[in-house]
Symmetry: C2
Subunit: 348 residues, 2 copies
Amino acid sequence: MTTVIALDGMGGDGAPAIVLEGAERILSGKKDIHFLIFGDEKTLKSAVEPHPLLKKNAEICHAGQAVTNFTKPSVALRQAAASGMGLAIKSVADGRASAVVSAGNTGAYMALSKMFLKTIEGVHRPAIAKIMPTALGRSVVLDLGANAECDVTNLVQFGVMGSVLAEYSGIYKQNQSPLVGLLNIGSEASKGLIQLQQTAEILEKHVNFYGFVEGNDITKGTTDVVVTDGFSGNIALKAIEGTAHLIKLFLKESLSKYTSGKIGYMIARKSFKDLAARMDPRLYNGAILLGLRGIAVKSHGGTDAIGYAEAIKVAIELATEHKNPVDETATLSFNHTIEERIAKLSLL
Amino acid sequence: MTTVIALDGMGGDGAPAIVLEGAERILSGKKDIHFLIFGDEKTLKSAVEPHPLLKKNAEICHAGQAVTNFTKPSVALRQAAASGMGLAIKSVADGRASAVVSAGNTGAYMALSKMFLKTIEGVHRPAIAKIMPTALGRSVVLDLGANAECDVTNLVQFGVMGSVLAEYSGIYKQNQSPLVGLLNIGSEASKGLIQLQQTAEILEKHVNFYGFVEGNDITKGTTDVVVTDGFSGNIALKAIEGTAHLIKLFLKESLSKYTSGKIGYMIARKSFKDLAARMDPRLYNGAILLGLRGIAVKSHGGTDAIGYAEAIKVAIELATEHKNPVDETATLSFNHTIEERIAKLSLL
């Protein structure tokens, strides 16, 4: 069966070129994908020319307006039905596409997704989640910035939704439910934060709850899911990215400081390539807007075609019906599973 | 003039051995330091034996009780006058020592420091600050966990105190006041957080304010000082430490994966040593309890003698009167400068 993916053709720093190149890459690997690409028809038609597979497997859908990085969510909402981003999301709501990908403005993307896709029954607030590399494999981290401030219900729901995302992404240990941790700091003072205590008590009943984790547990891979508010999550994510940059810089500087370092680098090039691939942020591109009645994936705005293709892969993966690896009783769609779990939550 | 430094002889995972080894290291470099070492007299007397310089330049002060990693701050306060940690801090309050260093329990250390040293006139809440490596040099980051929740006044005061710490540590660009950034997330939602907006408006008037910074700006070195609440600061700090660990692991794994990697590593060993030295967390050991009427430095509990010696160096540095590099009108003590700046703050 062909999976239809909607793309915001004009979103992101390198749009539309990287969007189209990314989609072409996907087509060269998988044959059963069809794209709906939204944006300025003239621009897209000429930009699609160099991509033979895309020309055959994509439909260009005209949108007169574009959401830029500077468009406020409120303005994006007013222009919703005219922008490429808005129409791409709407195509999922209308059932024309199974998922949408955009590398555009995150705030506008979330606002438009809430408007067109609606939140899943019972979900108070959607979250942004990402799958990140750890010492033990991968972990789901959320929220990464959709909700700067969160209450107990938000955090509990993030734990439940994050757990479903981990299941669907194969992130769990030994056939158990994904292990969920709640981000906190070690000191007595914070453990006293009533909100986190309450969240922990409720999560204990609904997910495979590990307890509190600290900032270093994210990359350590202590748990399969790390739950936090959007403020702390965004800061942690960017601190991790920044540190990776810093160490890359230090490594380069140290290697080029001595002739022996330069020679050693040349000889060990295969290892450095291996390292670069493992740390390549493009391979972890594609954040998921969780809690919506449709699959919406956010690509990093500054990524290239390789990174954009990864975001499309995330969308395809989630749009595909899975046999739930933990509860094998049924083949369920990703969002259906979230809806069921959220419903259970409110029963107790 | 001899500077007297008080040490909590029993605090930290490797105490008293690493405390004494660290102090001995300091004495082998500087001659004008005298130590007061607090803890169980019998234990300390036998542990000090292998350290000839310390035997001459340290006084062992008996304390019958010890604050452990599991001692609650409230209990530590009750046993204050009997524990090594408490008595070490008290010796600064009594004017016997110029600064205190402990590798013990952070919560208890802060509680006891507040009790014995008192907070500086006008300071609402002391903070924990650290000097961290960045792509451009070093930056001061605070609060790192003393205050999980902060109001506008707390954050403004952290900005002012952090700025003074940066000045005294030589962290500023081109003879200007240290550039201060306020940690935030990029999204519209958070920029709306009234508290951060208000903090930014006030900081603008009192420090060389850069504006909002994000998680990746910490290691980028965008500003000389990064201000945030203790919850986000602690998470950022630990996320940075965790990422450094992860990349070190990835680097090792990639290098040992191929024979060429192993050979290249051997050849480039000098460069890898250089990298290890630059990233060595021991060289950044020594967090500062800011806002107290006395210098109190917190060593990481799990560090070794090299790291402990760095924490002592931080204490000595701050206990020494400086010519203020920015405002050269007077030679002021570190805490006197903080007191003056905090006083100015309340005038406006």
